[in-house]
């Protein structure tokens, strides 16, 4: 049995710093523009009307998630080959799920016992997306390695996160599911943590995304998407978005202004237009890019293979 994790004095100052960054200065939080959410929704629906009109009758809703956007904006054919792949749980995915559960536990109860034990027990009563089976079938040494990793990430969480006061109204794994165009498009996501009491007058919610992997460029786009969804859903934008990295305890915090929301809107329009094209059965564009080497469709993709060959001549590419 490993030792329990609890808040300690060293963690308190680090946690307080983190909270201060998330909370910011209450006076500087922007006032909620009551017309903003409706305006953004109208804008999205206008921009997407042509793409929606091209959807064949009887097709289900086009689901727009952070992963779908990331993939389709890189390369349409890549998105389709990712979707056709049978879902395979990897060690990184399992670690991400287990760390998410521990983060949720810490935020909700302010305590963790044996991190591995706690996370696996939470997994057992939760939605089964294959991670439990993966974890249970790991060889003892691989399981021990994963458990040690999870333990380290849990220690970072306990070190960096203070126990949130009840007045922060912490919501974990909150689903956002915003229908557009009469439900033919659904913008969807699950927010790891939303804090701050929703308010009619002043933007007061902060959204936090938890990542157990390395920093990636797409992570900013992910939280910007959530800022847009929260605005559409609740009628008020969050005042901050943040990404917390459990590997090193770092947190990226960003204020949410119109630039963030409009940037997310343009990205959603661009990605959703492509997703509608794919849903309508259009031939996907192939856009060779530095990630072709990791694409599940590489074997059948001539431009992608050429890209990989060219990049081996110019030097190795590491996945950002």
């Amino acid at each position: 049995m490993r030792s329990s994790l609890a808040r300690h004095p060293a963690g308190r100052s680090r946690g307080d710093t983190l909270l201060a960054r998330l909370r910011g200065d209450a006076g500087s939080r922007p006032a909620v523009d009551p017309g903003l959410a409706g305006g953004l929704r109208d804008w999205l629906e206008d921009e997407l009307s042509e793409a929606v009109a091209g959807l064949p009758d009887g097709t289900g809703p086009v689901r727009v998630t952070k992963d779908a956007l990331d993939q389709v904006l890189v390369c349409e054919a890549h998105f389709l080959s990712e979707r056709r792949q049978p879902r395979q749980v990897t060690t990184e995915m399992a670690r991400g799920t287990l760390v998410d559960l521990l983060f949720r536990q810490w935020v909700t109860t302010g305590a963790m016992g044996d991190a591995w034990e706690d996370a696996v027990c939470a997994l057992r009563v939760g939605r089964d997306d294959g991670v439990l089976g993966f974890v249970e079938q790991l060889a003892p040494d691989a399981r021990a390695r994963l458990a040690a990793e999870v333990e380290e990430h849990a220690a970072r969480i306990a070190e960096c996160w203070p126990i949130l006061a009840p007045s922060w109204m912490a919501r974990t794994q909150e689903r956002l599911d915003v229908p557009l165009a009469g439900g033919r498009i659904r913008l969807a996501g699950v927010v790891d943590l939303a804090i701050g009491a929703p308010s009619a007058g002043q933007a007061s919610v902060c959204i936090v995304e938890v990542k157990s992997g390395r920093r990636r460029l797409e992570h900013r786009g992910d939280v910007h998407l959530y800022a847009l969804l929260e605005t559409l859903r609740s009628g008020a934008p969050p005042f901050r978005v943040a990404t917390f990295y459990t590997a090193d305890g770092e947190i990226d915090v960003e204020p949410v202004g119109r630039d963030v929301l409009l940037g997310a809107l343009h990205r959603v329009v661009a990605g959703t237009t492509k997703l509608c094209r794919m849903a309508a059965g259009a031939e996907p564009d192939r856009t060779p890019n530095p990630l072709c080497g990791w694409c599940p469709g590489l074997a059948d993709c001539v431009p992608g293979r050429r890209q990989v060959e060219d990049s081996t001549h110019t030097g190795p590419v590491t996945r950002p």
Binding site: V32, P34, L101, R104, Q105, V107, T108, T109, A111, G113, E117, D118, A119, V120, C121, A122, R124, V125, G126, R127, P166, S167, M169, A170, R171, T172, Q173, E174, R175, L176, D177, V178, P179, G183, R186, A197, P198, S199, A200, L232, R233, S234, G235, A236
Partner: protein
């Protein structure tokens, strides 16, 4: 601690707005017409069987009638299946004790539930809620998952309404409405998360998951019908407000005699779908199950 979503005030005003009143005579007509239409439908059931038409079965018959033939999966307690029960008890505490947050209330509800479950093992009192024994046997990590799920659910309901503007008494998580027509083997079971008294009688709030669609109005009307049939002197509710927190969507059904007649027609049609499905299954299997329960259970 009264905090609310930007739309909470408007939603509360909608809830309390006047509705088209349904008089006692009109309600009695709805009831009589429903009994006359549904009784022959459920009479086809094998002796000793009864159809319990709840919100889930009503929606399944409307949305996916083909699924009525499939076997039911057994109920398994989980953080998702008990979040409503725990969350409602927590919101009720928030309402009664000023300054209590949903997170604190959920923690209290769970602690009391576990204590009651442990106490009930030793002696007979008091009767714990249905989830408490299961919860009491869970390890810490699983308990935290239950608390987290219920806290998020309770916070969504707590911030969706302007509770201070609601006239007292406000009933959070009352007993379901059960209606059994005389000499008929049907039970209509509906539920609402919040009930308030209004100048027109009562108004109901229903919390749904996902996003509203073309069937949502029928689902809200079904709740209105169940409450009306069980209402006695209170009469039909004036309004049913549906909340979809994930979508931030709100739908309002102003309850009229026409709405109730429409819902009654859909009850007949949903009952027929379930009875047909049962008979089809009974042809292929020896043991009837799912939507049907033996009389008296």
């Amino acid at each position: 601690m009264m905090v609310r979503l930007p739309r909470a005030t408007a939603v509360t005003e909608e809830l309390l707005a006047a509705g088209p009143a349904v008089g006692a005579e009109a309600l009695s007509q709805v009831r009589d017409r429903l009994v006359a239409a549904v009784s022959p439908v459920v009479a086809d059931l094998p002796a000793g069987e009864r159809l319990v038409l709840d919100g889930f079965r009503f929606s399944t018959a409307l949305r996916h009638p083909e699924r009525c033939v499939e076997g039911s999966t057994p109920f398994v307690p989980s953080p998702a299946t008990c979040r409503r029960a725990v969350g409602l008890a927590a919101v009720d505490r928030c309402l009664r004790r000023r300054g209590t947050s949903p997170a604190e209330a959920v923690a209290e509800v769970l602690r009391c539930g576990a204590e009651d479950a442990a106490g009930a093992e030793r002696d007979a009192a008091p009767r714990p809620p249905w989830w408490a024994r299961w919860y009491g046997g869970l390890p810490a990590g699983a308990r935290a998952a239950v608390a987290a799920e219920a806290t998020t659910w309770a916070t969504q309901l707590w911030t969706a309404l302007d509770w201070e503007a609601l006239p007292r008494p406000v009933v959070v998580g009352a007993r379901d409405d059960w209606w059994e027509p005389p000499r008929s083997r049907l039970t209509v079971r509906t539920r609402a998360e919040v009930r308030v008294r209004t100048s027109d009688g009562q108004a109901l709030v229903v919390v749904k998951s996902g996003v509203p669609d073309g069937t949502s109005r029928s689902e809200l009307a079904f709740v209105a019908l169940g409450a009306s049939l069980c209402s006695g002197a209170a009469g039909a509710p004036a309004r049913v407000v549906g909340l979809w927190p994930a979508a931030g969507a709100v739908r309002v059904v102003a309850v009229s005699a026409r709405v109730l007649h429409g819902a009654a027609d859909e009850v007949v049609s949903a009952s027929a779908t379930w009875v047909d499905a049962h008979l089809e299954r009974a042809d292929g299997r020896s043991r009837p199950e799912q939507a049907l329960s033996s009389t008296g259970t």
